[in-house]
Symmetry: C2
Subunit: 215 residues, 2 copies
């Protein structure tokens, strides 16, 4: 059965960092400390950073990183995550990820502008651009997933849209035990999520607190 | 060495419930679910609710509940927690706790009004009323503690005053895995607390996430 998953990296005070404006540090100064333990995992080193030597941590953080990629049949991301807001006038822009993005599935990019033609990338990723209600895009993504799961990949605004609409079956938050004091507030308008989903928490060797809401 | 401790019960979205206005439910509707696992502990059943039969849970939550009471030599609370705001004109008001309050130490009550005479209660509790800067009251509480610890007991506004002033050595938060969506925001203005304190987290059998900042 297809399930809709959201995985987020957040701070103990409930923030996802707001992206910075520096080209050298597009995710902002708080992103590094927040995802440090996650990017150190063997799964992330291999899947996202292309390491082929088996480097990376293999504990609880890695188990969650692997679960993030496991059984994903299609993905949905926002226009900003793809880079449409940063490069609105470049019809040749193909995202931040080079010729072979780490998604390796169909990826539906939500946009409020006129959709572009789909982009077939190396390694199994195809970007489709959709200007449509999230429910309609999700229906298309579910079909494309062919019985596997749909990952709503971010940014945080897109993830929150799906959460508020009650469309998410599994929400996993990796909480770094740091207080960053500002950014995008993750939890607003989600009162009572524990009444529709069950909750399971565990602490990784790194100190990261993994909380998973499942229905 | 005397350490200054704060113990808080908060929600996953970082709130301490705002007290309600109903006399039947003075702590508000969210307080019950938030502290359910904590009040179920053997320590709380014994220390706060007077159970003498050994009833209550004995796992990780109980270990934290016991640590809360362990080695406390004096305590500091706000006027609202004592009830001065609810009964400002009753000079006979002696707090919410009956003749034998569960504190069993000197308790310094912060007030912005004219101090009242100290109240000697049964069981070792004496209430002292102080209209003075928190640093001065803390110095007096440290002396009264006689080498034991000082507990800053709440409400949340008083705890946050001490945290923001850098006066807290141990902050323990018991995070219930629920989203309540409103109340008093616990984490504001505490960015970087993990740089002055070390952080340790663990998950209790109840699902409560215990996070402790220590310096």
């Amino acid at each position: 059965m297809t399930r809709v998953r959201v995985d987020l990296n957040i701070s103990l005070d409930g923030y996802s960092p707001a992206p910075g404006t520096s080209p050298d540090n597009p995710m902002g100064e708080d992103w590094g400390p927040l995802v440090q333990a996650y990017t150190a995992t063997r799964t992330m080193q291999s899947r996202v950073f292309g390491d082929t030597t088996g480097r990376g941590t293999t504990g609880i953080d890695d188990r969650y990183a692997a679960a993030h990629f496991d059984g994903i049949g299609s993905q949905i991301i926002g226009a900003a995550m793809f880079g449409l807001h940063s490069f609105p006038d470049d019809p040749e822009w193909k995202g931040w990820w080079d010729d072979e993005p780490p998604f390796r599935t169909p990826v539906y990019v939500l946009t409020h502008t006129a959709p572009r033609p789909s982009l077939v990338m190396k390694g199994g990723t195809t970007f489709h651009f959709r200007n449509a209600p999230i429910e309609d895009v999700l229906a298309e993504a579910v079909t494309a997933a062919g019985g596997l799961n749909v990952c709503v990949g971010g940014g945080i605004g897109v993830a929150r849209d799906f959460l508020r609409a009650g469309l998410v079956d599994v929400l996993h938050v990796a909480i770094a035990p740091i207080l960053i004091g500002h950014g995008n507030r993750v939890w607003d308008d989600l009162r009572g999520l524990e009444t529709t989903h069950s909750v399971m928490s565990e602490v990784a060797e790194s100190g990261t607190i993994h909380v998973t809401f499942t229905r």
